[in-house]
C-alpha cells in the first residue's frame, strides 16, 4: 500500500487492526464479514498489525513486550508461565538474529532494534494477515534483507502481507501488487511488475511530477559568503563538541541515522539545552533560552507538530500570530490572510480552529508562523515528517524564499532523498552527515547524493562505499 501521508494508509491499517472505526463500508475476511470492534477481536481472527508509532512499552521487559498480546499461563491456573514466554521470545528473536536483546531495556535500544522488536511481537502472534506499517524506514540495510527473507517465508506459508512503505524500491522488490491511495480514495491496484516508479509516483501525487525546481545559482557569488553564525555546541549525550559555521543565505542539510545528535545540536543552538556561546552576525552572544534565541533572530521548526507545533484548541490566527504577538511584540507587515495564502495554506477562515485543517496545512501554518518573524536563521528538525508530498514541496519552496530574502536554513531530515532534492533547489547548499555526535562528512555540490549520505551515515569513509 502506498500513498502520501494523509492518503489514508495508516488509517486503513488501523481499521483492519481493530483500533479504529470506519465511517461506512465493510471488510470481508474469507468471504465473511470481518467487523471487529477492538484489536483483541482482530487478533483472534489472525489479523496483526505493527504500529508505525511503536506499540512497545518501556516499563515492561522484552519478554513481556514481545508476548504481551498472548501471554502464556500455567496449566489450569491464573499465573503466568514466564518460562514458556521466555522461550517463545528467544525463538523469534533468534529468527531475527537479535537473541542477545532479550534482557535489555527498551529505552536503551536504538530505533532500528525497537522496530525489529515490534515485528517480533507481531510474528509471535502467528498472523494470518500481517500488516506492516512503515517498519523498514528505520532499519539498516542488513535488517531489511533479513525482514525480506522472513516475509518470503510467511508468503510461502500462505500469510497475506500488507506492506506499507514510502520506500518505493522496497515496494517493487517485495510486493506482488501495489495499491495506491490518495486522499482517502483508492487510485487503483496494479501488479508491481507492470508498473514503473515514475508512474507510481504520479498516481500517488495525482500530478506530473517530472518538473524540477530550477535554481538560479548565480544569485550568490563566492565572494558574497559572509559567515553569520559561528558556534560550538556541546552534545551531552555523546560528550562531544560540534563546531558549526553558517554562511548567509546558506542551506545546510543535516543527515544521519536517528539519534546521532542532530536534534540535540539544533535544540541546544536554540536554547533548549545547555547554554551556548556563539557569534551571530558578528556579535558574541550567549543563548540560554528559546526566547533569547528568538529575539536574536532564530526560528525553530519541529517535525512533531502535535507535540511541539500546533496549539490544538486555538484558532489558525492565534497559532499563526503566536511568536510575533506574544514573544517579539510586533505585528506582521501584511495581514494574516495574505501571509497564509503566500505560504499555500488551504483554509476557510482564520478564526477556525487549527484542527479543522489537514496535517500538511497545519504544518504550513506552523512554518508560516516563523516565516514572518524576520528570522535570520531557521533551525528545522525534520519539519516535513509525516506530511504529503505536495505540502513538502511547498515547505521547501518557503525555505527557498526565506533564503532568497537573506536568511539561512539548517534542516535535519530523516529522508535522504529530501535532502538531496532540497539541496538542488537552493543557491548555496551543503549537507553534513552526523554520526555519533560528530560531523562525519560534509558534502557539497555533486557529492550530495544518496550513496554518499548512506555511506557516511553508518560511519564509513567514502572509500568504503559499497552497493548492497
Amino acid at each position: 500500500m502506498v500513498g502520501g501521508n494523509g492518503s489514508g494508509k495508516s488509517t486503513l491499517s488501523k481499521i483492519l487492526g481493530g483500533s479504529a472505526l470506519q465511517d461506512s463500508g465493510e471488510v470481508l475476511l474469507d468471504g465473511q464479514p470481518y467487523a471487529v470492534k477492538s484489536p483483541i477481536e482482530a487478533k483472534h481472527k489472525g489479523v496483526i498489525i505493527t504500529s508505525q508509532e511503536l506499540s512497545l512499552l518501556p516499563n515492561l521487559n522484552i519478554v513481556e513486550n514481545v508476548c504481551l498480546c498472548n501471554m502464556d499461563r500455567k496449566k489450569r491456573s491464573a499465573f503466568l508461565d514466564y518460562h514458556k514466554m521466555e522461550q517463545r521470545t528467544r525463538k523469534v528473536l533468534k529468527r531475527l538474529g537479535k537473541e542477545h536483546l532479550i534482557d535489555k531495556e527498551i529505552n536503551m535500544l536504538p530505533t532500528n532494534e525497537q522496530y525489529l522488536l515490534e515485528l517480533a511481537k507481531a510474528l509471535v502472534q502467528i498472523p494470518r494477515v500481517l500488516i506492516i506499517d512503515e517498519i523498514t524506514s528505520a532499519l539498516y540495510k542488513g535488517d531489511v534483507a533479513l525482514v525480506k527473507t522472513i516475509l518470503e517465508e510467511l508468503k510461502q506459508k500462505g500469510v497475506v502481507i500488507l506492506f506499507i512503505s514510502h520506500r518505493l524500491n522496497e515496494v517493487f522488490d517485495l510486493c506482488d501488487s501495489v495499491t495506491v491511495l490518495r486522499n482517502g480514495d483508492t487510485v487503483g491496484t496494479f501488479k508491481s511488475a507492470e508498473l514503473s516508479e515514475m508512474q507510481l509516483i504520479s498516481y500517488m501525487s495525482g500530478r506530473d511530477v517530472t518538473q524540477e525546481h530550477v535554481v538560479d545559482r548565480s544569485v550568490i557569488k563566492s565572494g558574497d559568503q559572509k559567515v553569520i553564525l559561528e558556534a560550538k555546541v556541546h552534545l551531552e549525550e555523546f560528550d562531544k563538541d560540534i563546531e558549526l559555521n553558517v554562511v548567509q543565505g546558506e542551506f545546510i542539510g543535516v543527515a544521519g541515522l536517528d539519534g546521532q545528535g542532530q536534534s540535540e545540536m539544533l535544540r541546544t543552538l536554540f536554547g533548549m539545552g545547555q547554554p551556548v556561546d556563539l557569534t551571530f552576525y558578528g556579535q558574541q552572544r550567549r543563548i540560554t533560552s528559546p526566547s533569547k534565541a528568538i529575539k536574536m533572530g532564530f526560528a525553530f521548526l519541529s517535525g512533531n507538530r502535535e507535540r511541539e507545533g500546533i496549539f490544538k484548541e486555538r484558532s489558525i490566527a492565534e497559532n499563526f500570530n503566536a511568536v510575533n504577538h506574544l514573544v517579539l511584540n510586533r505585528k506582521q507587515d501584511e495581514d494574516v490572510d495574505t501571509c497564509l495564502k503566500k505560504n499555500g495554506v488551504k483554509y476557510h477562515g482564520t478564526k477556525d480552529l487549527i484542527t479543522s485543517l489537514s496535517g500538511g496545512n497545519q504544518q504550513k501554518v506552523v512554518i508560516a508562523r516563523w516565516t514572518y518573524t524576520g528570522a535570520r536563521i531557521l533551525l528545522a528538525d525534520d519539519p516535513t515528517k509525516g506530511i504529503d508530498i505536495q505540502a513538502r514541496r511547498d515547505a521547501h519552496e518557503t525555505f527557498c524564499r526565506m533564503i532568497q530574502e537573506g536568511a539561512s536554513v539548517i534542516m535535519i531530515s530523516s529522508d535522504d532523498e529530501e535532502l538531496v532534492e532540497t539541496s538542488k533547489m537552493m543557491p548555496l547548499a551543503r549537507v553534513i552527515v552526523m554520526y555519533e555526535g560528530q560531523i562525519a562528512r560534509t558534502l557539497i555540490g555533486e557529492d550530495i547524493n544518496l550513496e554518499a549520505i548512506a555511506a557516511s551515515s553508518s560511519g564509513q569513509s567514502s572509500s568504503e562505499v559499497k552497493e548492497s
Binding site: 481493530g18 483500533s19 479504529a20 472505526l21 470492534k37 477492538s38 480514495d185 533548549m272 533560552s289 528559546p290 526566547s291 534565541a293 528568538i294 529575539k295 525553530f300 519541529s302 507535540r307 511541539e308 507545533g309 500546533i310 496549539f311 490544538k312 484548541e313 486555538r314 484558532s315 492565534e318 503566536a322 511568536v323 504577538h325 506574544l326 514573544v327 511584540n329 476557510h348 478564526k351 477556525d352 480552529l353 484542527t355 479543522s356 508562523r369
Partner: protein, 329 residues
C-alpha cells in the same frame, strides 16, 4: 465525492469559541428551572430579598472560580484544591491583621496579597520544577494552609470584622448589594487580563500545548507559577468577601468552595485539559450551584444530604462534560 467533502468540511469546521453564547443557554435554562422549582417547594424563595442573598453568595463563588479557571486553563491537569483553604485563612486571619478597623483592612489586603503570592509561588515552583502534579501539590498546600489557620487562631472563631467588609453585604443602590458591584469590577478586570493581556493570551497557549509554548519562546515556568500566585491571591480576596457576608469566621468555613469552584468552572465549559475556557461560564455555573445549594438548605436537608447532592451533581456534570475519547479512535 463533492457532497461528502462538504459535509466532512462542515463537521471538521468548528468555530473558535471560548465562550459561545449558545453554550451558555443550558446553564441559563437550568437557573430559571431551579428558581421556579425552588419557589414551588419553598414559597418565598424567589423573593427579591432571597434572590439578593443568593446573588451575593454566588458572587463569592464566582470570584473563587477566577483562580480555579485560570489554573485549569493553564493545562497539564491544573486544578486548585486549595481555594477553600485560602478563603478560610483569609476570613480567619482578617481580625488578627486588621484589628477590626477599616484602615487595618488596607494592610490586611496587602498582607494577604503577600501571603497568597508567597504560597502560590511555592506551589507553582513545586509543580513546575519538581514536577509534582497540581492535584497533589494544591491538596498538600490546603492541609498546610488549614493547619496554619488552626495554629494561628487556636481554633477560636473570629468576630472582629472591619465594617467596610460587612457593608458589602448591605444594599448600596436600591436592593443591589455592594458585593455585587465589587464582583463585577473584579471579574471585568480579570476577564480583560485573561483575554487582552499578553499574559492571558500566553496562558491559553501554555495550556493548550506546553511543549509548543516552550518552543515559541514563551516563558512557561513564569506564566504557570504566576498563575498559581494569582489564584492564591484571588482566593484570599474571595475569603474576605465571604467574611463580609457571613459576619464571622470559623475554621474551614471556606472548604465547601473548593468543590463548588471546580464544579462551577467545569459547568461553565472550561476543560481540565487546558487551553480553553473562561470566566463567564464560571459565573453562570456559580449561579446554578448556589441556587441549588440554597434550595437544599431551604428545604431543611441535613448537611450530609447536601454534600451528597453536590457530589452527585458534580458527578453528573463531569459525566456529560469531561469524558475522554474512546480508545478506538
Amino acid at each position: 465525492m463533492g457532497e461528502t467533502e462538504s459535509v466532512k468540511e462542515l463537521r471538521k469546521k468548528v468555530f473558535l469559541n471560548n465562550q459561545n453564547v449558545k453554550s451558555f443557554l443550558p446553564s441559563i435554562i437550568i437557573i430559571i428551572i431551579l428558581t421556579v422549582v425552588s419557589n414551588i417547594l419553598s414559597p418565598g424563595f424567589a423573593s427579591v430579598g432571597n434572590m439578593m442573598t443568593i446573588s451575593t453568595r454566588a458572587c463569592i463563588l464566582a470570584v473563587a472560580c477566577i483562580g480555579q479557571a485560570y489554573i485549569m486553563i493553564s493545562g497539564n491537569a491544573g486544578i486548585d484544591m486549595s481555594v477553600g483553604a485560602f478563603m478560610s485563612m483569609a476570613a480567619l486571619l482578617t481580625s488578627k491583621f486588621s484589628g477590626g478597623t477599616n484602615l487595618g483592612l488596607v494592610w490586611t489586603v496587602l498582607i494577604f496579597i503577600g501571603i497568597g503570592a508567597f504560597f502560590g509561588f511555592i506551589t507553582g515552583v513545586c509543580i513546575q520544577f519538581f514536577k509534582i502534579p497540581s492535584l497533589v501539590m494544591t491538596l498538600a498546600m490546603s492541609s498546610v494552609i488549614n493547619g496554619l489557620s488552626l495554629g494561628v487562631t487556636r481554633g477560636q472563631p473570629q468576630m472582629t470584622i472591619p465594617p467596610v467588609l460587612l457593608s458589602l453585604g448591605t444594599p448600596v443602590v436600591g436592593v443591589i448589594r455592594g458585593m455585587i458591584f465589587l464582583t463585577v469590577i473584579i471579574i471585568t478586570v480579570m476577564i480583560l487580563v485573561l483575554h487582552k493581556t499578553k499574559y492571558g493570551k500566553s496562558l491559553f497557549m501554555v495550556g493548550s500545548n506546553r511543549n509548543a509554548a516552550a518552543v515559541i519562546g514563551l516563558k512557561v515556568n513564569r506564566i504557570v507559577i504566576g498563575t498559581y500566585m494569582i489564584s492564591a491571591i484571588i482566593s484570599c480576596i474571595a475569603g474576605l468577601m465571604m467574611l463580609g457576608f457571613v459576619g464571622s469566621a470559623q475554621l474551614q468555613m471556606g472548604d465547601e468552595y473548593t468543590l463548588l469552584s471546580v464544579a462551577a468552572v467545569v459547568i461553565g465549559g472550561t476543560k481540565l485539559s487546558g487551553g480553553k475556557g473562561g470566566l463567564v461560564g464560571g459565573i453562570l455555573g456559580s449561579l446554578v450551584l448556589i441556587i441549588l445549594t440554597s434550595m437544599l438548605t431551604a428545604l431543611g436537608l441535613p448537611s450530609g444530604v447536601r454534600q451528597l447532592i453536590q457530589g452527585t451533581l458534580l458527578l453528573g456534570i463531569v459525566l456529560i462534560n469531561s469524558r475522554e475519547l474512546k480508545l478506538r479512535n
